[in-house]
């Protein structure tokens, strides 16, 4: 096995990203869709950290970006869950395909 480096990290993050994307596309449950979003954000975090570590170690831009993304993710998740709960109240379901009144 090769010594892990930048490309390994990028491979992991990119794969993770598209796993998240795949999950976002296919999951019908809103909570699981939200989980997919978290995977996506995590892959981005990993990207930032990897770039920061391997390429741009003279500053901590990537690192800070990651920290703020985590904060944002939390806020976003909170609001999303609030919305989902509200949706559950009105729709009695959190299946995304049950909330398709608005279309065309």
């Amino acid at each position: 096995m090769i010594e892990p480096g930048l490309y390994h990290m990028l491979f992991i993050s990119t794969t993770l990203f598209f796993i998240g994307v795949y999950g976002f596309f296919t999951r019908r449950n809103l909570v699981t869709m939200l989980m997919s979003v978290e995977l996506i954000l995590n892959s981005v975090n990993l990207n930032f950290i990897a770039f920061n570590k391997y390429l741009w170690y003279d500053k901590m831009d990537g690192l800070f970006f990651t920290i703020f993304i985590i904060a944002i993710a939390a806020a976003e998740a909170a609001v999303a869950i609030a919305i989902i709960i509200n949706l559950y109240r009105s729709h009695k379901s959190i299946d995304v395909e049950n909330a398709e009144d608005l279309k065309y």
Binding site: V21, F24, F25, R27, M33, V96, E97, E100, K103, Y104
Partner: protein, 644 residues
């Protein structure tokens, strides 16, 4: 030089009458309009006579040649350098002559109508229209500019239209006026294009300049006109031929004559004025006006005039023999006589003795105006009395309508060419001219002349002799002074006009033309004429079955002529089947379905596309995300690999 003002007044007075009666007639001149119109025209007539007198005897002649004077010219519409429509007055022998003819006949008709149209509820309108017509016709004859003549040409057409349609609630009158307008309009397009051609090459619209340019081979205009050709015919000939088509339309030459018999739907005095004496000779006048160009520069066009005239003369005469409506007989006779005038021009040459045809044509025009007006007015008196146009309702009227009878007879004799009545002299000259220059036409003319005598006396006998009159109801006799005075005056004219030495005044080149009387030459036509008269007398003087037998023995020809050689049917076929069904209908259909259809299809297509693509907006948030990603990938591929 003459004073232009009073010459201008000649046409303007009737115009004033038209405006006055047309606008205020209904309200203020309900009963006096006839008097007003007639008075104005009387002034015009006096002025016209004065002008003619002045022209012929005082100032018209310079060095023995009648000049083409232009006392008035006003630029009306400037197209380009040198090319402009001018409103002007030209004074030359034919216009001076026409001024007299038009005003005189018109005056007669005005007076006659005082009696004939009495009590009509649209009396003022009638006189207004008469005024309009007279104005237009006078304007036409004094036109100094080819476009001016076209303008008045059209005005004459429209006044004719208005007068034919005077009895507007009669569907046949409506149809007739429409037909008259449209047929002549069709011919006018030819005239218009002819004007365009001639004016393009000569670089002018002014008659005098135009004639001068196109008759002198050294001018650039002449050269270009003679050089340019289309289907082997020079532009000049095309131009003249097209102008002649215009003339032929107005003068009811074959095959554009179909409107004329129908035009008899108008009041009879109108027929006398417009469709016999004045307007219909406009075509002859037009050719005469451009005669130098025809004669000098384009003999081909001139012989076209000649042949069309001859054929029209013959065909009309044939048809006239079988018609039973007296006004239609007169109409065909008019057509036939105009044919005479036309071919007289056609066989003429320019200048000198060879120009006899020109003089003869004008002479015939002049005399024809007298006796044809008389015939119509007489027929009007008959119709006024009997309330029918059909021969079968008439007969034996000579006792009831003595003045009419006599004057009518004079006119018949005149038209038949019996000496010493006016028609004899003019027809004689025509035949002579034809004899000298074109034997074919001469023979046609000769036959026609026999036929003329026949159908005229057929008419005469059928009206005044034949069966006994069975007049019902009360009648006030012949219609009073107003109607009789014109008859008498015209009869006098028809009787004596032939003695005017016409060649002294009117000739193709303005020089004096001595017209000798050739006894040996006139024997044939006179004899033929008399033969015609006697045949008619034999057949129609008393009620008998000879006409029917005769008709039966010639069944094919009779039928063909009775149906006017089916020309009307051919026209109907062309207009209904071809113009309407093959052009008009498809055009409307294409517009509605294809052109408009495309426009609508664009709109509907947009809507349809909008309907088709609505599926993208499926309401599924995951699908949105998929589209999102796919778009990103697609754009990335596009911009990374393809669109560098």
């Amino acid at each position: 030089m003459p004073n232009a003002t009073y010459i201008a007044l000649i046409p303007l007075l009737p115009l004033a009458g038209f405006l006055m009666l047309g606008i205020f007639g209904r309200k203020y001149f309900k009963n006096t309009s006839g008097i007003i119109g007639t008075t104005l025209l009387l002034v015009s007539t006096v002025l016209a006579l004065y002008t003619a007198y002045g022209y012929f005897f005082e100032y018209g002649k310079v060095d023995g040649i009648y000049q083409k004077l232009v006392p008035l010219k006003y630029t009306w519409l400037q197209f380009s350098e040198g090319v402009s429509i001018d409103m002007g007055i030209i004074l030359d022998p034919i216009s001076a002559m026409m001024l007299v003819v038009v005003t005189f006949i018109s005056l007669m008709v005005h007076i006659y109508s005082l009696g004939y149209m009495k009590g009509d509820e649209r009396f003022p309108v009638y006189y207004a229209f008469l005024g309009l017509f007279t104005f237009s016709m006078l304007g036409l004859v004094v036109s100094s500019n080819i476009f001016q003549i076209y303008i008045f040409w059209e005005l004459v057409g429209v006044s004719s239209f208005l007068l034919i349609g005077y009895y507007y609630d009669k569907p046949s009158a409506v149809a007739a006026c429409k037909k008259a307008f449209i047929v002549t309009r069709f011919a006018d397009v030819g005239f218009l294009i002819g004007i365009l051609i001639l004016s393009f090459h000569s670089g002018t619209l002014d008659f005098n300049t135009l004639i001068a340019t196109l008759t002198s081979p050294e001018t650039a205009g002449y050269k270009s006109a003679a050089a340019a050709s289309f289907i082997g015919v020079s532009a000049l000939t095309w131009g003249l031929a097209l102008v002649f088509i215009g003339g032929a339309g107005k003068s009811a030459m074959f095959p554009l004559h179909i409107w004329l018999p129908d035009a008899m739907e108008g009041p009879t005095p109108v027929s006398a004025l417009i469709h016999a004496a004045t307007m219909v000779v406009a075509g002859v006048f037009l050719v005469a006006r451009l005669f130098p160009v025809f004669a000098i520069s384009s003999p081909n066009a001139l012989s076209l005039v000649g042949y069309v005239g001859a054929i029209s003369a013959l065909i009309a005469a044939l048809i006239a023999c079988t018609q039973t409506d007296i006004k239609r007989v007169l109409a065909y006779s008019t057509m036939s006589q105009i044919g005479y005038m036309m071919f007289a021009l056609g066989v003429s040459k320019y200048g000198g003795e060879d120009g006899l045809g020109f003089t003869a044509s004008m002479f015939h025009l002049f005399t024809h105006a007298m006796f044809k007006a008389l015939l119509f007015l007489g027929a009007g008196a008959v119709i006024h009395y009997i309330h029918s146009n059909e021969m079968k309702d008439m007969g034996g009227l000579r006792k009831y309508l003595p003045i009419t009878h006599i004057t009518f007879l004079i006119a018949c004799l005149a038209i038949a060419g019996v000496p010493p009545f006016a028609g004899f002299f003019s027809k004689e000259e025509i035949l002579l001219a034809a004899y000298e220059h074109n034997p074919t036409i001469y023979w046609i003319a000769l036959i026609t002349s026999g036929l003329t005598a026949f159908y005229m006396f057929r008419l005469y006998f059928n009206i005044f002799w034949n069966k006994e009159a069975h007049v019902h109801g009360e009648h006030k006799g012949e219609g009073g002074f107003a109607m009789m005075m014109p008859l008498v005056l015209l009869a006098v004219g028809a009787a004596v006009a032939g003695f005017i030495p016409f060649g002294h005044f009117v000739s193709s080149d303005g020089k004096r033309l001595e017209t000798a009387f050739h006894l040996q030459f006139s024997i044939a036509p006179v004899a033929l004429g008399l033969a015609g008269i006697f045949i008619a007398m034999w057949m129609y003087k008393t009620e008998n079955n000879k006409p029917d037998k005769f008709a039966a023995s010639l069944s094919g020809l009779y039928k063909a002529t009775y149906h006017k050689f089916y020309i009307d049917e051919i026209y109907t076929f062309i207009t209904k089947k071809i113009i309407f069904n093959l052009i008009g209908r498809p055009a409307a259909w294409i517009d509605k379905n294809i052109v408009d259809g495309l426009v609508n299809a664009t709109g509907n297509g947009t809507k349809d596309i909008s309907e088709i693509i609505k599926g993208f907006q499926s309401g599924k948030v995951q699908q949105y995300a998929i589209y999102f990603l796919v778009s990103v990938i697609g754009l990335a591929l596009l911009f990374i690999y393809w669109w560098k």
